[in-house]
Symmetry: C2
Subunit: 314 residues, 2 copies
């Protein structure tokens, strides 16, 4: 398997990307070929300095970088030699099987939707975020901010995409799907939640367990939590702030609160597009990069995008 890795994305690139690669390769069981895409005048000396060598490593020169504040569509068009544009080109042509970047999020989304394309039948791709459960398990919540306003049909699709992700990446059997809401009973909620409930209830491709509430985010009620991207983004950032609060109060080393740190999850996959695309946090560090590569590996191995395509055919 071939994984494309943008060495230039993130506030601490390419140094942290190189260190992430080092971490990843230090595990000898890894067999994926990594295509490191970036400015070789910057990346090569760092790979040498950190002695990151492997027959599975391939450096692809990308002299341009898309900055954080550039307009996604415009930048992707004009900077054809940027690491993100090259990454999507390689992914679209099948040279790589997954693409990872912690660079300009908008450019990554535009690239995912326009060079890789949405899976036929999927209304809109979605991004998710990982939720650390108090019992040690892992949940995901989606949409995490890509689609601020959603239709019930979209939430219904998120449930399918999320279930496949939880099943294939977290190895959760028959993942429980919950609808984020303000009460447990059917009929509760805003117009969107009220209209979504019957769709989820009738959806035979998922294991719908009903409504869940804000207090259920960290317990074991649901493995996959669906909501619109406005709600999901607020939840995501609020959960991230729980880590900051724990840190400020001196509990950062607590085993549970430590799991709130973004680096443990690496990045967020764009679900609903035909190939694995993973977007990293702007502040990604070595551990985050390593975990992103590991998620890409799992996504390729499980052929999750192929499974999604199959499921949306029927």
């Amino acid at each position: 398997m071939n994984i494309g890795f943008d060495m230039m994305g993130g506030d601490f690139a390419p140094l942290e990307a190189v260190k992430g690669l080092q971490l990843y390769l230090s595990d000898n069981t890894r067999t994926a070929s990594i295509y490191c895409i970036g400015d070789e005048t910057l990346v090569k000396p760092l790979l040498e300095e950190y002695q990151v060598t492997s027959p599975n490593l391939h450096l692809i020169h990308a002299p341009e970088v898309i900055g954080y504040h550039e307009h996604p569509t415009k930048a992707l068009k004009e900077k054809q030699r940027s690491s993100i544009a090259i990454g999507f080109h390689l992914l679209a042509t099948g040279k790589i099987d997954a693409f990872i970047s912690a660079g300009n999020t908008g450019a990554m989304l535009v690239g995912a939707m326009f060079s890789i394309k949405t899976i036929p039948g999927v209304l809109r791709p979605t991004i998710s975020t990982v939720v650390p459960k108090i019992n040690g398990g892992t949940g995901i919540i989606m949409d995490a901010g890509l689609n601020s306003d959603c239709k019930p049909e979209q939430l219904d699709q998120f449930a399918i995409l999320g279930s496949l992700y939880a099943g294939n990446i977290f190895n959760i059997e028959n993942p429980k799907v919950g609808l984020m809401n303000v009460g447990e009973e059917e009929g509760k909620g805003n117009i969107l939640a009220q209209a979504t409930y019957p769709l989820l209830k009738a959806n035979t491709k998922i294991n719908f367990i009903g409504n869940i509430e804000g207090r259920d985010l960290f317990n074991d009620k649901a493995d996959v939590i669906v909501c619109d991207g406005f709600t999901g983004n607020i939840i995501l950032k609020m959960a991230e702030s729980v880590y900051d609060l724990a840190q400020q109060r001196g509990f950062a080393n607590d085993e549970y609160f430590a799991r709130f740190h973004y680096e443990n999850y690496g990045g967020t996959p764009v679900l609903g597009v035909a190939k694995p695309v993973i977007i990293g946090h702007g502040i990604s560090n070595a551990k985050a990069f390593k975990n992103m590569i590991a998620v890409a590996e799992k996504m390729i191995e499980s052929d999750i995008c192929g499974k999604m395509t199959e499921l949306f055919k029927s």
Copy 2:
């Protein structure tokens, strides 16, 4: 000043209500007259047992109780001798200046809106929840669940009501109002947030500081956070669960995380109605009841409802 206090509301009533009263009266500076509304065959022996006596205490017999699962409108109509119905009757006729109950939330809301009435000009009353800030301060977020779907004009009014509350009850001068959103820049967000931003920006009755994000809930960016009740309710319950997580991880005694416990805030006032009405948590304990009485006292003292009425005239 006269405060009506439902002795029968809450899972642990009337015992915890009696103990809350005891706590409140143990502070000798308290001068409010408390009208204890409840079944005297249950309340009187408890008041005697706990030696809760004061010339400021008046027991009003209410032989009926509205249960948690009763239909609010129906129960209020049929159980005229219930503590909630009597409370609102006393409030409407001016015998008491505020009414507190941890009973059936729906009945409390129906009572507030129909026997006390909404302040002229207010589209819909709102309920808020308190947010403990990491710097020691206190913020409020509203709507906390009364209005799942909102119009921009409602959020604009919540900002005014919340600013008055933060100013008069928390003594925050010129409280900063933030719009809960998914990004800082104007133009971000779902349709509701996008349409609300310009209204808040143009509102001369508030100190609007712009959008805030989920991560800003516990920092000092905003004192008053406005959002629809769907979003607010999820945030409220998620914040409550942070207390549970801290407790489960053994940090319940941490000074900051302890502030997440609902008992510190007592209850949520119904804002936008003509007189102070406070709804308590179903699991209210003595400390929560004491704090509810203290909030009622502050609301009467500051004439917050009068100020709201004035502000909505102009």
